[in-house]
């Protein structure tokens, strides 16, 4: 700590080599310290959160409205022509629309009764906006604009729409870091909804471009699991609440050991276009030992 403070004070004579040496030791110490405790990361995250987060919120707001504006400009000509054409169809469509509206009303009612989403309603949720994404290209985490002042805690689950996005790994006063299930260092336990066979879902950077994630260790000797099956979080996962939709199986292969199967699955959430996510304010119950 002292080399930095001294530098601002008076004329500083420590040469770069020694400063590098001292700071390297400091960094190594910090790495070890933050891996095992949150002694340092807590105050740092408060300071950084107070300074940077308000700016990030502003910029993401401006950024999203700017990109929306530029798209508008590109499409304005097409839209004018289209508008002309559509105007002539309006009358006809209005009549149809009223009919459809009635149908739709009925449909949503029926859906509400049947939908899988119903089981998520038990959990208390709050919405949060994504304000920044991992500046590197290696992992896919992001920060949201709510923190422990809003009641958020580490390991709370994040959803978008009806699918699982990830979980909180770090909280500041007004921001939290979310690790997504597609990140390369993410593993979670899931199960096939239809057969209740458990499997491990892991993110993989190599598969990211194809929009899929890996699963492995599926024990399915009766060959009942098929492509298109829904995968939900399992009840034996220690971080994720049970029954949240993860995605759909897109391919299955038998492993070389002939006992387990592995394959790919498509997440239910479109991770490219996330803007607002839901935080489930309930933690998976852990058994105290």
């Amino acid at each position: 700590m002292s080399p930095i403070v001294k530098k601002k004070g008076e004329k500083f004579t420590l040469s770069g080599k020694y400063l590098l040496f001292i700071l390297t030791i400091l960094c190594t110490g910090l790495i070890v310290l933050t891996l095992y405790t949150d002694y340092i990361s807590r105050p740092l995250s408060v300071i950084a959160g107070r300074i940077v987060v308000p700016m990030q919120e502003g910029i993401s707001y401006v950024g999203s409205s700017l990109s929306g504006r530029s798209e508008e400009l590109v499409h304005i000509r097409d839209l004018l022509a289209e508008n002309e054409r559509l105007r002539s169809q309006i009358d006809q469509l209005t009549i149809e629309n009223t009919m459809y509206k009635q149908d739709r009303y009925e449909l949503t009612n029926l859906r509400d009764l049947y939908d899988l989403d119903a089981q998520y309603d038990d959990y208390e949720k709050i919405g949060a906006r994504i304000i920044a994404r991992d500046p590197g290209n290696w992992f896919h985490s992001f920060t949201i604009n709510k923190g422990y002042e809003d009641g958020l805690e580490v390991d709370m689950n994040i959803m978008a729409g009806s699918g699982l996005v990830g979980r909180i790994t770090k909280v500041g006063p007004n921001w939290s870091k979310v690790i997504t299930i597609i990140a390369d260092n993410s593993y979670l336990s899931g199960q096939v909804l239809a057969t209740e066979d458990t499997l491990i879902v892991s993110g993989n950077l190599e598969l990211y471009a194809d929009g899929v994630v890996e699963f492995e260790q599926l024990k399915d000797n009766a060959d009942r699991v098929v492509i298109g099956d829904k995968i939900v979080t399992s009840n034996i996962s220690n971080k994720y609440l049970p029954g949240i939709l993860i995605g759909y199986i897109t391919s299955i292969n038998r492993d070389a050991n002939n006992l387990t199967k592995s394959g790919r699955l498509t997440p239910a959430v479109d991770f490219e276009r996330l803007d607002i996510v839901l935080v489930i304010l309930e933690l998976k119950q852990e058994i105290e030992e």
Partner: protein, 170 residues
């Protein structure tokens, strides 16, 4: 003092751009690395000590918000700043070739180290995939961005030049 304020503004500016605006402007999901450009440029413009301190703070910011352990990126960026500082003796503002080369190698260094520390250690051994799909595109995009960002940094430093020459001749 003014010098330090300009450094802070530059760091926060680059970090914000990289984590918000350029996430939206990503080509094929790849974001250019502003912080490398900043660290490397200030390194060879201002010497190894400034370079390593700027790198340290750039890295710390990344670590606090996106890292798993605070200090890892800080260390990588710090060494990049320090190594770039070694070239401050042969740096001339008029010459764009040296900065470009240095930034290119800095980004390569960053990519290789991130891969080694965070991926190879977890037995993700398909290096060629990561090189072709992550490291290489990032370098290209960063070099492109450098063409715009570098003059900005140069201008911000030129204002201070007369004051600074007197101070930092050790």
């Amino acid at each position: 003092m003014r010098k330090i304020i300009i450094y802070i503004i530059l760091i926060i500016f680059c970090f914000l751009l990289q984590s918000t605006v350029f996430r939206g402007l990503a080509f094929a999901g790849i974001v250019p690395n502003f912080l490398i450009v900043l660290t490397a440029s200030l390194g060879f413009m201002r010497g190894e000590r400034t370079g390593l301190l700027i790198g340290l703070f750039c890295g710390l910011l990344t670590d606090i918000f996106f890292g798993d352990a605070i200090g890892l990126y800080a260390m990588i960026y710090m060494y990049i700043g320090f190594l770039n500082g070694k070239f401050s003796g042969i740096f001339y503002p008029e010459n764009i070739k040296l900065p470009m080369t240095l930034i290119l190698f800095s980004n390569l260094f960053y990519g290789l180290f991130t891969y080694m520390l965070l991926f190879m250690m977890r037995s993700r051994l398909n290096f060629s995939y990561y090189f072709v799909n992550i490291i290489f595109p990032e370098i290209i995009y960063t070099i492109l961005i450098t063409l715009f960002l570098y003059p900005l940094i140069l201008v911000s430093q030129f204002d201070l030049r007369p004051k600074n020459d007197a101070e930092t001749t050790n």
